[in-house]
């Protein structure tokens, strides 16, 4: 037990040292990379403090501080592109994305490697760039798979994308991807580990069709679909003993729209899940969604709010296996952008986690975050 703790401590220490070296190297590189170099780097840093209160259950109360460093490296030549994203935090150190692309033409790209699932709107919009998202928290629907997110966030395989530009300067974007899905282990989905190829993962296939009324604008509305065959590590939890596999089909509708000082982003996803038990298959259907509204009070100040909701999610067998998933949250926040690329954000929320099949864990949250990006 003691030696395991020692090893975990050593791993964390090594990851922290690696993160510091990466930070210094990327900062140094960023100073020389802005001329003609095909190399480019971004470093996203953030520190988040979170406090949880619960009148009904004091065991849910607590506070924590999370430092996060996210390193992005890109290489570009005329027809080749490479991207690597490595994250370090107090809880993990992981190569999040490692992907290479063949740029077939201006409209068509074929990616290979480990990438973020294209059917997750929020994930593909902000990735791990905490500074880029207005809110501190992510919607429960869009949470990372290893933080009890209900959908796969990482796939290892191939991803094709094509833009159909129309004559009126609008465009359709089509994305198709196929690769290795996460597996269900303990109380979360575990993404495929490139260093352990024999770790038993099944296939994930995703598609996305997006309409942009102005090819240069960020306004968009899109449809997503995914089919994920998720292998289950039955011995990892007593709740999984009788479960062989999970077949998950999702159908989503998302939008991101800006009218002058207002911005609205939303995603609604329907889940159709077959839980393949030893005794037979049990079907599980539910729906999760959210709407986030933002208002730019001035160039430096933005107020925002989000509501997260669902239908039939309370009775979902699948979600009962993910006790930390957030299915309901009413959140309000304010963000102050100051100096050059620094943000200070405050968020308060009334949240309930899925917990077990008996009832939800309900609590209040207050979050404060500083975030920045070095380029």
């Amino acid at each position: 037990m003691k030696s395991r703790r020692k090893m975990a401590h050593r791993c964390r220490w090594r990851a922290a040292v690696l993160a510091k070296i990466l930070l210094l190297a990327t900062l140094a590189l960023s100073q020389i990379s802005r001329a003609e170099s095909p190399h480019d780097v971004l470093v996203f840093l953030s520190v988040e403090g979170v406090d949880m209160f619960s009148a009904s259950d004091p065991t849910l109360e607590g506070s924590d501080v999370h430092p996060i460093a996210d390193f992005l490296y890109t290489y570009n030549s005329d027809r080749f592109r490479f991207l690597a994203e490595y994250i370090w935090s107090d809880s993990e150190a992981e190569m999040e994305r490692l992907q290479a692309a063949w740029v077939i033409d201006d409209e068509t790209t074929l990616w290979f490697g480990r990438f973020h699932t294209i059917s997750n709107y929020w994930t593909t919009e902000y990735h791990h760039g905490q500074y880029m998202q207005t809110s501190i928290s992510r919607p429960g629907l869009e949470e990372w798979e290893d933080e009890s997110g209900p959908m796969p966030s990482h796939v290892t395989g191939a991803w094709f994308e094509h833009e159909f530009a129309l004559e009126n300067q609008s465009a359709f974007d089509l994305g198709l991807s196929a690769g290795l899905a996460p597996k269900f282990e303990g109380e979360q989905l575990m993404p495929f580990d490139v260093l352990d190829p024999a770790s038993g993962h099944d296939m994930a296939v995703s598609g996305r069709l997006v309409y942009r009324p102005d090819i240069l604008s960020l306004n968009q509305i899109g449809l997503t679909v995914s089919h994920n065959d998720i292998a289950v590590v039955s011995e990892s939890s007593p709740a999984l003993t009788e479960l062989n596999a999970i077949r998950q089909v999702t159908l989503g509708l998302f939008t991101n729209w800006q009218w002058e000082k207002w911005r609205l982003s939303s995603n609604w996803v329907y889940f159709d899940i077959d839980m393949q038990y030893v005794s037979g298959t049990v079907n599980d259907e539910f729906f999760l969604g959210y709407i986030q509204a933002e208002y730019e009070v001035s160039e430096d100040w933005t107020v925002f709010g989000r509501t997260e909701f669902g239908d039939s999610e309370d009775d979902s067998i699948y979600l009962s296996l993910l006790p930390a998933v957030v299915a309901h949250r009413q959140m309000l926040g304010v963000r102050w952008d100051f100096a050059v690329r620094h943000g200070l954000t405050l968020e308060i929320a009334d949240t309930s986690r899925q917990a077990d099949s008996v009832g939800h864990d309900s609590f209040k949250e207050a979050r404060l975050q500083w975030s920045t990006v070095f380029r």
């Binding site: 802005r34 490479f82 033409d105």
Partner: protein
């Protein structure tokens, strides 16, 4: 008497400053921002949409080669005109947009150089690079070719 001379001198200084300011305004009034390439660049024409695309970090290919956009850092008025009139975004929105494109697709941000001389050097090194500068500067330098007028003072 001394007081009277001092008042007159100050008046003269003010008049000179005013005249200088007016002449500068007159010069700006006739100025324009133009898109430029090196004089031997194969890029002879580029649409406004493709110019915006290139500066927003979207790949644009002309004659089989990727267009390389270049920005000047030090001329704040030139940058202001460029962002307002060509990109139609504030400095902060533009920066966020470039960061977002890089984060999402790994696309390169436009190269940044300090001043006009550095821009011309980069254009000469890369025939597929495009830049922007004051028209009066472009016309007085044979190393660059004016591709199109991006903005004209009315």
């Amino acid at each position: 008497m001394e007081h009277c001379i001092s008042v007159r001198t100050r008046g003269l200084q003010l008049s000179l400053l005013l005249a200088m300011a007016l002449s500068m305004t007159a010069a700006w009034a006739n100025d324009a921002v133009v898109l430029v390439t090196s004089s031997d660049s194969p890029i002879t024409d580029i649409s406004s949409l493709d110019t915006r695309k290139a500066y927003l970090g979207i790949f644009v290919t002309i004659a089989g080669n990727t267009v390389r956009p270049v920005r000047q850092r030090d001329d704040s008025r030139l940058n202001q005109v460029f962002l307002q009139s060509v990109i139609a975004m504030s400095q902060r929105s533009y920066e966020r947009r470039l960061l977002s494109m890089m984060l999402k697709y790994g696309t390169p941000r436009p190269a940044e150089v300090r001043d006009r001389e550095a821009l011309i050097e980069m254009l000469e090194r890369n025939p597929h690079a495009i830049g922007y500068m004051w028209e009066s500067d472009a016309e007085s330098d044979r190393r660059v070719r004016k591709v199109k007028v991006l903005w004209q003072e009315h």
